[in-house]
Symmetry: C2
Subunit: 320 residues, 2 copies
């Protein structure tokens, strides 16, 4: 697989070395970048290295990296402090806990030590940058760069500027992300959940309501997507799917099916939150198909399937 | 690829020979069944045969059928009348126009000529069987069997009984559909749009609103799904995806992300229909990526990708 090489002569820093941060470290190192990893909990940072080594072996097995796993792993180094991690870095990927106060504190700390050039991307999956990254010296250089987990397998990344992010920051991060092989989505206005989790929320809202109302089981709803809807979405997305699904394209499709979809939308206007009873119900339904003690093994299965998917996708890269 | 052979000693009839009906004919014939095709417009029925021959060649090229295309095509015959099509048939797949009056009229015609054994599945993609199939002699033997197009490639089929459908009818159709290799979803209560189009409607509702509000372009929304969300959905579905996406499974996930999703749901409660202005806007956006005169070629590309997806899926069939 031919990966683009990022054109960057300075290292990047990954702050927060949980699954998301460590996954980012692989994505950067795979593209040839030196990566410094820092976590406020030293044990978390230390664990990231053997975990990354294991993932790199799996990527190699699936033909998803050309270099030896050890060559890529050698680009990962642990930093003893935040200041050391970002010293001279071109870019910082922040992947600390998804909580406004935690992210705000990290931004305050970065503001105290960052040089005037570094760009900071946040892995926030739904909290807007304007809620935690404004009114600082570094604010023009901060934006959201939200991945799907794990970012070294699933390529999409949403770039969402805050109200104070500069155009140069967006352009730099866009180029960097394309440079390491990610698929960049430009979100033009801030909105809670951005695009990815809003789309997921919409599908889940309906899925949970169908299960709650006894229309279908979790397994049958999953089957509807994995053996049906999900096929075209996985290589075209929803707009292209419907554009090709009526003789005259998307406007023709809207004329035919718009009334049905509007009627369905009107039937979902006042759902409450997922309450404890509903969560327990869905939990029981899922546990009929997968015991709690099989979750970890099934996650390994998922990652193998994602790698097979990525390898298959790479074959079609020229054909899209 | 090993296809199951349907255990049925009588032919099936396909009524309505447009894309959906002709696609069903391939799915039945591929499994070894004799198929009689009838359309009120004889030209439509005649066109179905060469079209099916072309599709069978493509399936053969992708390793999706073991028999020679001509062997399978030889199981397709045209019927001169509705009565001739269903005479002695075990099962009728109705794929006429998606309009209550048209479907009701067909059911009245079938009621007049059907024998006491035939089971009738309707390809209706959103209209409930109770809206057109009740209070007839054949009503206990009618249900919805809604496919994704084309049914010989994408395996899911939703079975939705009307209030008058017998349990035997559901059991027979479930066994038949499994017998020809479809993935059966049992919808337990009638609801407009069933499961598949309700899930699609939910995603499209959000997608159109994001485009309308200037948050992201059609292309960026498609990218979010095809390079992100769609990967896991294409082999796991939405419930298994979230069940594996938190250490403690789906209940743990709901505790973490339920509040975000509820907040997003509350922000989508009063959308109007897709009006002409919005449809024109989406149409313009899509046409920047695909000219209207390229739609047909892009549909061929889609079908090739679906066949490659089906071939890849077959490899993982034992591994799910």
């Amino acid at each position: 697989m031919n990966l683009p090489k990022a054109n960057l002569d300075r290292p990047v820093a990954v702050i927060g070395a949980g699954l998301v941060g460590a996954g980012w470290a692989i994505a950067f190192a795979r593209a040839g970048l030196d990566v410094r990893i820092y976590d406020a909990n030293p044990r978390t940072a230390e664990n990231a290295l053997p975990w990354a080594a294991t993932q790199l072996e799996a990527l190699h097995r699936h033909g998803l990296i050309d270099e030896a796993p050890a060559t890529i792993a050698a680009r990962l180094t642990l930093a003893d402090s935040l200041a050391q991690a970002i010293d001279g870095a071109a870019y910082v990927q922040e992947s600390v806990l998804e909580r406004i106060d935690v992210k705000r504190q990290l931004l305050l700390d970065l503001d105290a030590v960052a040089d005037a050039r570094v760009i900071i991307g946040s892995s926030s999956s739904g909290i807007k940058a304007s809620d935690f990254a404004c009114d600082l010296r570094i604010s023009p250089r901060v934006l959201i760069a939200h991945p799907v987990n794990p970012p070294y397998l699933v390529p999409v990344v949403e770039l969402v500027p805050s109200t104070q992010t500069s155009a140069e920051t967006v352009a730099f991060t866009d180029a960097l992300m394309r440079g390491i092989g990610q698929s960049v989505v430009r979100v033009r206005k801030e909105i809670e959940g951005f695009v990815l989790n809003r789309l997921q929320a919409a599908l889940l809202r309906e899925a949970w309501a169908l299960q709650r109302d006894g229309i279908a089981s979790c397994e049958d709803i999953d089957k509807t997507v994995r053996d049906g809807l999900g096929w075209r979405w996985s290589f075209m997305g929803p707009f292209e799917t419907i554009d090709l699904n009526a003789p005259g394209g998307v406007a023709d499709y809207a004329a035919r099916l718009g009334p049905l979809y509007h009627s369905i939308a009107r039937s979902r206007t006042n759902d409450g939150p997922w309450d404890d009873e509903l969560i327990a119900r869905v939990e029981r339904d899922r546990r009929q198909h997968l015991c709690a003690d099989e979750l970890a093994a099934r996650r390994d299965w998922r990652d193998e399937r994602l790698m097979a998917f990525a390898a298959e996708r790479a074959k079609h890269a020229a054909d899209s």
